[in-house]
Symmetry: C2
């Protein structure tokens, strides 16, 4: 059997066959980038001890196109996105699993690059990719690579954010600028270039959450506004909690070049996906303290209080515009930007 050519080789059907070609691919690409004692055991599962407590478990499939975009790639995103879903439960991320669906013909150099980026993101986030799976589908039956990561994490005592816990009077905090990820991907897809490069914000937010929990453990709701953007996220929470929300448009941070790109592309930043931002809904007494903790963290430098939870049987999310008017923040039926994560 010929050795794996990481420079000019491509994914072949045999790499998904459970035989020696697959074993070689796993050794040469996955084990080198992800190396950790649990994965290195090469069993079909990872086994580890846990203390009595509460766990969070979450999964996401990543199908973003293009695979490489300004500020990140599908590999890094598949770590950050799942770490963030753990962090939104207030959990400290522990382990990740990764399932790869590769399309025949994918250059091995691309695979090696995105897997390496995935390994770096995991190490930076302090999590290990402890178990995984690789499948290959025929050319034209996939799209380069799809990655599904699942994470488990440990929730500290006294921490229990959940979508149904927003209460009238609570403050709505946002950790930073909206729309960076969606616009970065879209500009790459449309081959647009702007005066200043717009980079995806993709980042793991568990450190920011830890800083927030340290000053106010009882955060009511935490959620990252990914697909569907802030609009979808707040409408979902309003539904789950049976409340309304009132946002102040001028308080919502959006970078000037992102706002300009959105105008050009016909997008509303409120509907655009983010991959390194969070919304926190907190009791009024905690609002100032949590906001200060966010602003003191590198990933929350632009954090702002953007609105307030109100009583509303209709569960509407409304925006007080810069012009003194009010408009509904609607939840789109579909998505302006397919395959953004």
């Amino acid at each position: 059997m010929k050795p794996l050519d990481r420079t000019r080789g491509v994914v072949e059907m045999a790499h998904g066959g459970g035989g020696r070609a697959m074993a070689r691919l796993i050794e040469s690409i996955f084990l080198t980038s992800f190396a950790n004692p649990l994965l290195n055991q090469r069993n079909d599962q990872a086994c580890f001890a846990v203390e009595k407590g509460r766990l969070a478990m979450t999964t996401d499939s990543y199908v973003i196109q293009p695979l490489f975009f300004p500020g990140g790639d599908i590999g890094a995103l598949s770590v950050h996105g799942t770490v963030n879903d753990l962090a939104m439960a207030g959990a400290v991320p522990l382990h990740l699993s990764a399932g790869f669906i590769l399309e025949e013909g994918l250059p091995l150099a691309d695979l090696a690059r995105l897997v390496d980026s995935m390994g770096q993101a995991a190490r930076a986030a302090g999590v290990a990719i402890v178990t995984g799976d690789t499948k290959v589908v025929e050319k034209g039956k996939g799209d380069g690579v799809f990655i599904t990561t699942t994470g488990i994490g440990i929730i500290p005592d006294g921490v229990a954010p959940s979508g149904e816990r927003a209460r009238p009077g609570d403050a709505i905090l946002l950790s930073g600028t909206l729309g960076d990820h969606g616009v970065a991907v879209m500009s790459r897809r449309e081959n647009l270039s702007f005066e200043t490069a717009i980079l995806s914000d993709c980042a793991s937010l568990h450190g920011l959450v830890a800083a927030m929990v340290a000053v106010a453990p009882d955060l009511h709701v935490l959620r990252d506004p990914t697909r569907g953007g802030l609009a979808a996220t707040l409408n979902e929470i309003a539904q789950q909690s049976g409340v309304g929300m009132e946002l102040v448009e001028t308080a919502i941070p959006v970078k000037a070049q992102v706002r300009a790109a959105c105008e050009l592309l016909g997008l509303d930043p409120l509907n655009v996906a983010n991959e390194g931002k969070l919304v926190a809904i907190v009791a009024p007494k905690d609002a100032e303290r949590v906001l200060a903790a966010m602003q003191a963290h590198p990933l929350g430098r632009d954090a702002a209080r953007i609105g307030t939870v109100i009583e509303d049987a209709d569960r509407f999310v409304v925006l007080k515009t810069g012009f003194g008017g009010t408009r509904m923040v609607d939840w789109l039926a579909g998505e302006q930007l397919p395959r953004i994560c």
Copy 2:
């Protein structure tokens, strides 16, 4: 927005957009089939209490074609396969997550059918699908549906099967007939029909494992011979443990019609995938007891002792043939049957 037509509708890009169309798909199809308290909370993660102990975590992506095959479908398979990888650690399955990558145009009736089958398999196995994710890719960028499931389970004290624990003298036990799954799928794919229908053996094996652990907790190795078949599984274990293996051909159970189909298709049953069988490697003193426990369980009725672990620096797996000769059981480079799981 038009209501979801479960009879004549198809998956649309909007169903993956994170908006209202996706929420409706999830409510109408996933929540109805998977209903359980953790999933019903509709957060981006499931949170639950665990006791101090050891956990197993495993993941698999399922890309099988066709989606529906004699004896099962991709939905049921995605539960059985992952439950089995937990069971092979001796773990009692606890929770599953599920990530769906849907191709635009997939009939909703097919999706509903396979999701329902998945829910049934999970309930039968006593596990809940507690969190999930849905993505949609354009027509021609996927293949109907890909499912990635991740499972976590609890490993009882004193149970620690692992691929590197095979020792010379250990008995090699197989829980039943080889090749049923691969031949069932292949016959459907090739539109072959046989006198007797050949059905996939796909089944959850944690109950069988529990019966084995009850009589001999210290099983050395447990593994399910899926992709690559028994040949790949035993070669992997031989590598991990640094041992050889000697199998007795006449002791390996294969159904007559599966053997005939393999001859027709040019396949060796030792290389064909199984989805409801396990290999156990146990200390000589435990062999009889474990074999009896297997044969007393409905999923181990045809269990047999098929060989013995031997010392061999070359880590070869050899087969004593019915004619008194010996042949190497080779590990194929790729796979005879792509997309079998």
